[in-house]
C-alpha cells in the first residue's frame, strides 16, 4: 500500500515542499506539494533526484576517527569506526584541550547559521563562527541591511506581476531555482519584457527579449548611467520616492557625471542602448531588477557592494521595493531563536576579536555572515592569533576560494571535526567524522523564505527510518558540548523538536498542529499590503546613505573598477555559473544528476577558441595567477570573445566519491582568498570575497 509523507527538499535553501510516496518503508516516488507557495507542486531536477542520495551506498555510515596523522589529497586517513560516545569524547576532549592551551578563540565553528552551533560556540567562548556568505551574497545582504531593512535582504520577487524584468546576470531560471523559473516563464507568457545583461548567453538570456553581453565587472557603470538618466529625465516614481526614500537630491548631484556615453566607454554597450533600457525600465510598470546570490552581475567583484546598492536604488526609483511586481520582503513567521525560547546560562566573556576582524565593521559585523574567505590565511599566518581547532558542517574544501591553499591550512590545524553526509574532501581531512542523516530521515520544519507572500511553514516527517547510525546535527553539537563539560547550556529538554514546538506556539500554532496538517503546511494566504516603513533609522529607503558615509564609506555607489583586468599573460575575463542540475558538492555523486550534467566545461566563444586553436571537446588548461585546472572546452557563440565561463562544483579529489572523483576541475582553485588585512584594505562594508574578480588564460592541455 502506498502511503504519503510530507517533507521538503533540503538540497537548496528554497525548501520546496514535497510529498514522498512510500511502499513498505521504501521511497518509491517524490512529487511536489501543490499547496506550497514556494514550489507550487513542482520540483527541480535536484529535488526529484534527491532520493538517490538516501540510498547511495557511498554515504557515511558510522562515526569514524582518523588514525593517520598525515593529511591531504591522496592520503588514506586510516579511518576506523568508533561509537558515538567515543566520537563525542574525542572531540570534546580535544576542543577542551585546545581551548585551555591556546584560548577559546583558537577554535572555529564553520557552518551555516544554526542555533545549537551558535550556542555551543558562545558557550566555548569563541567568537569565531565562520560562514560561507562572503563567498556568496553578503554584498546584497549587507546593503539591504544598511540602506533599507535594518536586518537582511528580501528573497521574494513578484515576477509574475512584473511587466519589465531587467537582470544583471541574475540567472536563477537557468540554475534550476524552481520558483524563479516558474515566475520568469509565467511573466514572459503574460507579456512582460525581459532584458538580460550578462557576458554569457544563459537560458534566462535566451528566453529574454534582449541579451546585452556586457563587459564583465562593469555593470556598475551601466547602473550608474541608468540612475542618472532616470533622475535627470524625471522618470522616477515621484510619489514612491518622496514618501518612502531619502537622499534623492544628494544622489542626483552625485551621479550627474555618469552619462550614458561615459558608461558606454566602460561597458562595451552603446549609449543609445543604455539610455533606452533606462527609459524602458522607468516607464514600464511594474519593473524590477531581481537578484539572488552569485549572479554574474557582480556580487563578488571588487565593486560588488556598489552594484548591490545600485540595484536597490534603481528598484526604489521605480517604486519596486515591497510592491506588487517588485522585490518583496518575505511575509513569514517570526520564529524566536533558541536563546529566546530556552535562555542559556550566562556566556563566558571573551574580549578577543574575530580572526577576520569582522567585529570592527559596525555596519554588518553583528551578523557574522562571513569568515570563509579569510579562514585559510588566518590559519596559515597565525594572525591575529593561532587557530588550532575546527568544526565543520557540510562546508566542503572545494567551496573555499583557493581550495589548494585551504587544504594547506587544514593540515596546520591540530584537530578537525566534521559533520557530513557524504565522504567529501573535507571528510578526508577530518580527525573525527560525525555522520548525519539525510533530510528524508529526520523531522524538521521550514519557514517559507523564497517566494513567501504570506506566512507559511512546511513540515518534514521522517520519511523513512535512518539507514545508518546517524544523529541529527543538534544532537551532534549537544553531544560534543556535553563532552566538553558544557552540559549546562544544553539541559535535558532543550532539543530541536521542542524548539520547533515553541517557535510555532509563538505564532499561535503548535508542532502537533503542523504534524496533523493534511497538506503538511500551516498558514493561509493573505492579501498583500506593501510596507509603509522600512528598517533604517529614517524608516525610509536611503538612496544616499549617511550611515555609510559616517563609517568611512562612499554614501552612494560611486564608480569603481573591478580589481583585475585582462593582461598580456591573463587575457580573458572569467565568470562562473553552475549547471541547473547541480548544487555544489551535494549533487556530484548523484548518478541521476551526473547523467544530466556529467562534465565541467570551460565555455569559450567560437572566435576565441579558433584563435587559440581549441576545438569543442578539447582538454584545456584554465590558468589564473594562482592555480590552473584542466577541463573540457565547450565552444559556443553565446559568450563574449574576451570572456570564459567555468561551471562551479566539480574537481573532486576524494576517491570516496566514485562518480565525482576526477571529473572536471574546481574553479575555486583559481579564485583568490584574502587576508584579514587585505579584506580591511578593500574598504568593503560588506566583508565580501572576490569570487568573480579574476582573469585567466586558456590553452590546450
Amino acid at each position: 500500500m502506498v502511503t504519503e509523507k510530507h517533507t521538503f527538499c533540503n538540497v537548496c535553501s528554497a525548501n520546496c515542499a514535497m510529498k514522498a510516496q512510500i511502499v513498505d518503508g521504501k521511497i518509491v516516488a517524490i512529487k511536489g506539494n501543490p499547496d506550497d507557495q514556494v514550489g507550487r507542486g513542482k520540483l527541480c531536477v535536484k529535488g526529484y533526484s534527491a532520493w538517490k542520495m538516501v540510498y547511495d551506498p557511498q554515504r557515511l555510515k558510522f562515526p569514524m576517527k582518523r588514525t593517520n596523522p598525515e593529511k591531504g589529497p591522496g592520503v588514506d586517513p586510516g579511518f576506523v569506526k568508533i561509537s558515538w560516545e567515543e566520537a563525542f569524547k574525542l572531540a570534546g576532549d580535544r576542543f577542551r584541550e585546545l581551548s585551555a592551551k591556546y584560548r577559546p578563540e583558537s577554535i572555529v565553528v564553520a557552518c551555516r547559521p544554526q542555533d545549537f552551533a551558535v550556542r555551543w560556540a558562545k558557550a566555548m567562548g569563541t567568537p569565531n563562527l565562520s560562514r560561507h556568505h562572503d563567498t556568496c551574497y553578503t554584498t546584497h545582504d549587507a546593503m539591504w541591511r544598511v540602506t533599507v531593512s535594518g536586518t537582511a535582504r528580501p528573497w521574494t520577487h513578484d515576477l509574475e506581476n512584473a511587466r519589465y524584468i531587467l537582470s544583471f546576470g541574475w540567472d536563477q531560471p537557468s540554475k534550476g531555482k524552481n520558483m524563479a523559473a516558474r515566475q520568469y516563464v509565467n511573466a514572459l507568457a503574460k507579456g512582460a519584457k525581459a532584458v538580460v545583461v550578462n557576458p554569457l548567453l544563459t537560458a534566462t538570456g535566451a528566453m529574454a527579449n534582449e541579451w546585452i553581453p556586457i563587459k564583465p565587472g562593469t555593470d556598475l557603470a551601466f547602473i550608474l548611467a541608468m540612475i542618472n538618466i532616470i533622475i535627470e529625465e524625471n522618470l522616477y516614481d515621484k510619489d514612491y520616492v518622496e514618501k518612502y526614500t531619502t537622499g534623492i537630491e544628494d544622489l542626483k548631484k552625485a551621479v550627474k557625471s555618469y552619462t550614458a556615453e561615459w558608461a558606454a566607454g566602460i561597458t562595451d554597450v552603446d549609449a543609445a542602448t543604455i539610455t533606452r533600457i533606462a527609459r524602458e525600465f522607468a516607464t514600464t510598470k511594474p519593473a524590477v531588477i531581481p537578484s539572488h546570490k552569485r549572479d554574474a552581475g557582480g556580487p563578488n567583484y571588487d565593486n560588488g557592494w556598489r552594484v548591490a546598492y545600485g540595484f536597490i536604488i534603481l528598484n526604489a526609483l521605480v517604486g519596486a521595493i515591497d510592491r506588487p511586481g517588485g522585490v518583496i520582503f518575505e511575509r513569514n513567521m517570526k520564529l524566536p531563536n533558541l536563546d529566546t525560547v530556552f535562555p542559556p546560562p550566562e556566556y563566558p566573556k571573551n574580549t578577543a576579536g574575530r580572526f577576520d576582524g569582522g567585529e570592527k565593521n559596525k555596519l554588518f559585523g553583528s551578523t557574522a555572515k562571513y569568515g570563509n574567505v579569510v579562514l585559510a590565511d588566518a590559519i596559515l599566518s597565525g594572525k591575529p592569533y593561532p587557530l588550532k581547532g575546527l568544526f565543520v558542517r557540510k562546508y566542503n574544501v572545494l567551496g573555499f576560494p583557493n581550495a589548494p591553499r585551504f587544504v594547506e591550512a587544514l593540515k596546520k590545524l591540530e584537530f578537525i571535526a566534521v559533520a557530513d553526509i557524504m565522504p567529501t574532501e573535507i571528510v578526508q581531512m577530518a580527525d573525527v567524522v560525525f555522520p548525519e542523516p539525510h533530510f528524508m530521515e529526520v523531522e524538521a520544519m521550514s519557514n517559507r523564505t523564497y517566494n513567501a507572500h504570506y506566512p507559511q511553514v512546511a513540515y518534514s516527517a521522517p520519511v523513512i527510518e535512518k539507514l545508518g547510525d546517524y544523529k541529527g546535527f543538534g544532537s551532534i553539537v549537544i553531544g560534543i558540548a556535553k563532552a566538553m563539560g558544557l552540559g549546562d547550556y544544553f539541559p535535558d529538554g532543550v532539543n530541536g523538536i521542542r524548539l520547533m514546538d515553541e517557535q510555532l506556539k509563538a505564532n499561535g500554532y503548535s508542532l502537533d498542529q503542523l504534524k496533523a496538517s493534511p497538506n503538511g503546511l500551516l498558514g493561509d494566504p493573505k492579501p498583500f499590503t506593501g510596507r509603509e516603513e522600512f528598517g533604517t533609522e529614517s524608516k525610509k529607503i536611503e538612496l544616499y546613505s549617511k550611515k555609510l558615509q559616517d563609517n568611512g564609506f562612499d554614501p552612494f555607489p560611486a564608480w569603481k573598477e573591478k580589481k583585475e583586468k585582462p593582461s598580456k599573460d591573463y587575457p580573458l575575463y572569467m565568470v562562473i555559473t553552475r549547471h541547473a542540475a547541480h548544487r555544489m558538492s551535494e549533487s556530484h555523486n548523484n548518478e541521476l544528476v551526473m547523467q544530466v550534467a556529467p562534465e565541467c566545461p570551460v565555455i569559450l566563444n567560437t572566435v576565441t577558441a579558433a584563435d587559440l586553436g581549441i576545438k569543442n571537446g578539447d582538454d584545456v588548461w584554465v590558468e589564473s595567477k594562482i592555480n590552473k585546472i584542466k577541463v573540457k572546452a565547450h565552444v559556443v557563440p553565446g559568450i563574449r570573445p574576451d570572456t570564459v565561463c567555468v561551471w562551479h562544483g566539480f574537481g573532486h579529489w576524494s576517491k570516496d566519491l566514485p562518480l565525482a572523483y576526477g571529473v572536471g576541475g574546481n574553479e575555486g582553485d583559481l579564485v583568490y582568498d584574502l587576508s584579514a588585512k587585505a579584506l580591511a584594505d578593500r574598504k568593503d562594508p560588506t566583508l565580501s570575497g572576490l569570487m568573480s574578480d579574476m582573469c585567466v588564460k586558456v590553452y590546450k592541455a
Partner: protein, 286 residues
C-alpha cells in the same frame, strides 16, 4: 524432500560447528574486531570440536574450510594491539568506505547500485514469510551479508538443537535461503574482498572461509557450486565496478518455496555476536 543423504552431510548440517562458523562470519562482517571480542568468540573448546569435526567430514570442501579456519585462528591468536588497529582500519576501508566493497545483496543483484533495491525487498519478504522482522538494534539492512549470515547461523543453531522431526523443515528453509540469496551473490562478494586484500590479510582469510562454508553447505545439501553464466548487468557493473565473475544460479534446484518455509519459526532468530544462543538481530514480528 529430505536432506543429508549421506551421514556426513546430515552430520554437518545439524552440527553446532556449522552454526558457529556462520555466526563467526556474520560477526566478522557486522563490525570490526577487538581483541576482547575475539577472545570471547573464538573459544578453544568450540574450535577444537569444529576442527575435529571438519577433519572427519567426508565432503570435498571440508579440507579447504579446515585450512581457512586454521589460518583465521592463527591470525587472531597472534593479534596484538597494533594488529587490532590494523584490522579495524581494514574493516573500515573494506566495508564502510566506498573504496571497499558494498556488502549488500541490493548492490550485487539490483540494477541501480542503490541500497534497498528489489533484492532487499525479496530478502525482507523471505524473513517475513517466517514471521520475522529485523531487530531495531540492528544497524545494517536486511540484505547486509552480516544479517543474512546471522539468519543462517540462528537457523543452524536451532537445527542443532532440534529433534529429528523438525530438522528437515529448518534445513529446507536454510537450503532455500542459500539458493535464493547467498548463492547468488556471496561468492562474488568473497571474490571482491579477496581482490582488495592480499593473501595474508585477515579479511582475505575470512572471505576464503565464507567461500568455503557456502561450498561445503552446497555439497551437504546436494547442490552444485554455482557456475559462471550470462546474466543481465547488475547496478555495480553498470556503475563501473568490478565485473561479476561468478554466476549464482545453481543447477537442479527450483527457486520455488520449499516445504516449511512459510511456517513461522519457533523462538527468536539471531544476527548478533552471541554465538551460543539465538538472540536479537532479527526479531519475531508481533
Amino acid at each position: 524432500m529430505s536432506f543429508g543423504g549421506s551421514c556426513h552431510s546430515m552430520d554437518w548440517l545439524t552440527s553446532r560447528g556449522r552454526a558457529f562458523l556462520y555466526a563467526f562470519l556474520s560477526t566478522s562482517f557486522r563490525d570490526h574486531f577487538t581483541l576482547e571480542k575475539m577472545q570471547r568468540i573464538m573459544n578453544a573448546e568450540d574450535l577444537a570440536i569444529l576442527t575435529s569435526h571438519l577433519a572427519r567430514l567426508d565432503l570435498p570442501e571440508a579440507p579447504r574450510v579446515s585450512t581457512a579456519l586454521a589460518a583465521v585462528t592463527a591470525a587472531w591468536q597472534k593479534a596484538d594491539a597494533y594488529q587490532e588497529l590494523e584490522l579495524q582500519k581494514a574493516y573500515a576501508r573494506l566495508f564502510l568506505l566506498p573504496g571497499g566493497v558494498h556488502p549488500y545483496e541490493s548492490i550485487y543483484l539490483g540494477n541501480q547500485n542503490l541500497l534497498m533495491d528489489k533484492p532487499w525487498e525479496k530478502v525482507r519478504q523471505f524473513y517475513r514469510n517466517l514471521g520475522l522482522e529485523k531487530d531495531t538494534a540492528e544497524l545494517h539492512p536486511e540484505d547486509h551479508i552480516a544479517v543474512e549470515l546471522g539468519f543462517m547461523s540462528s537457523l543452524a543453531y536451532m537445527t542443532a538443537a532440534a529433534g529429528k522431526g523438525s530438522r528437515q523443515d529448518l534445513l529446507a528453509i536454510q537450503c532455500e535461503f542459500l539458493i535464493a540469496h547467498l548463492n547468488r551473490w556471496a561468492y562474488q562478494l568473497a571474490c571482491d574482498i579477496r581482490g582488495k586484500c592480499c593473501g595474508e590479510d585477515f579479511y582475505w582469510l575470512v572471505s576464503e572461509l565464507l567461500d568455503g562454508l557456502l561450498t561445503l553447505d552446497n555439497q551437504a545439501f546436494g547442490e552444485e557450486k554455482p557456475q559462471e553464466s550470462n546474466q543481465k548487468k547488475t547496478g555495480r557493473e553498470k556503475f563501473g565496478q568490478e565485473k561479476v565473475k561468478q554466476e549464482v544460479v545453481p543447477k537442479g534446484r527450483s527457486r520455488g518455496r520449499r516445504r516449511g518455509s512459510s511456517q513461522p519459526l519457533p523462538g527468536r532468530l539471531s544476527a548478533k555476536d552471541d554465538h551460543h544462543a539465538p538472540a536479537a538481530g532479527t526479531a519475531e514480528r508481533t
